[in-house]
Symmetry: C2
Subunit: 251 residues, 2 copies
Amino acid sequence: MLKQPLILITNDDGLGAQGISVLTRCMLKLGQVIVVAPNGARSGASCSITPIVPVRLKLERQEQNLRVYSCTGTPADCVKLALEKVVPRQPDLVVSGINHGDNASCSVHYSGTMGAVIEGCMKGVPSIGYSLRTRKQECDFRPYLDAVEKVAAHVLKNGLPEDVCLNVNFPEVPALKGVSVCRMARGVWQSEWKETETPDVYALTGHYTNLEPDAEDTDYWALDHGMASVTPLCLDMTYRPYFKNLESLQK
Amino acid sequence: MLKQPLILITNDDGLGAQGISVLTRCMLKLGQVIVVAPNGARSGASCSITPIVPVRLKLERQEQNLRVYSCTGTPADCVKLALEKVVPRQPDLVVSGINHGDNASCSVHYSGTMGAVIEGCMKGVPSIGYSLRTRKQECDFRPYLDAVEKVAAHVLKNGLPEDVCLNVNFPEVPALKGVSVCRMARGVWQSEWKETETPDVYALTGHYTNLEPDAEDTDYWALDHGMASVTPLCLDMTYRPYFKNLESLQK
């Protein structure tokens, strides 16, 4: 009998979110699943870790082919802890999500969903983040399940290059118009601080501005046009074309 | 009279750290300085933001050419808040650090120092992170001050390409052996969790393993050989060479 794939799941909305429950059911079609997810919301956690306070791991439930743990740390902590203290062997796949809210364009840098994916990738496991462009806590995830499974099956079969992970985003539509393999759009968050009743105390908010709304090869364009975006991301951020402009610093 | 450059400073060790005090004195030689830094340690904060709890800004002191604020948020929050609510105009430079501990190789992804730099870069300001490979809270920063100033002056004069920032790291040496413009080394953190007295509660620790110790074009090699590393980083993490391998997902 062939060995079943082992799939590690986490997210940044916490174990109680609908998105991770949907993702877990979907991944159980592909293999054995271990969930290690935050015990509450960690939106905006990026790839942050918890170096000062110890982190608690708790087995929440165990079923056929499924073990579910909560963790008091960040999404990246969850992946670190799962890989070192929970899994019986190196997983074949790390998946994170399905996030409530997209993580396209520059939002990759703030995303706890993608922080967990970056952590899985750093540890040598093929890793995928899934996010849905929505503001709702309760969503209809059915339009995306085929694409979620197809991308995961592709990665289980083909792997990913070293230091490369996938960022998958869905628009909120009744039926996907397609899948676009595309780059991160250039964009920026603006008007980010709302004054509160207390002077000098501000609440984070803001709106995203796409700096290249007409670029058809971007994740934002895909989402704006009813398509899922699939973007391969490289952990080596080195920008080699600028080396020559810095040469004078070496003298 | 020529307008003085305006320089925004932050860090992730907090306003009380020696590194940011040294960096502030150094930058005052180059222009007018505004410091907006966390009110305590935020090591490992990555590019995380604070979406749930409001953030407080406090003017700590004001001198000739210098204003210093503390902030209860993350390093990225500090930059966001400074740019929207504190600075009189778009700064000419954002600098972060000098971090106590290096942020070379994959540590870029965990680093609050570099999270602030990424935030400054996203907002269109040329941005530099400085870090020192040390475990000490009190260090002799004098061997690095010339290089700190030289890199900042280079960026003030020449700017940086859109979406590109700099990661500068120093080894702990009596005198730098040079400056290397180089790429991120491939590496990984291992053995990251120490058991505590409480079952299922773990404390984050670990050691870094350089996966390519002989690669002379990397930041780790430079640090290991007594040199400062200067690495240009690109915020667009898209890995275009893998697009063709994902084409079948579009069908």
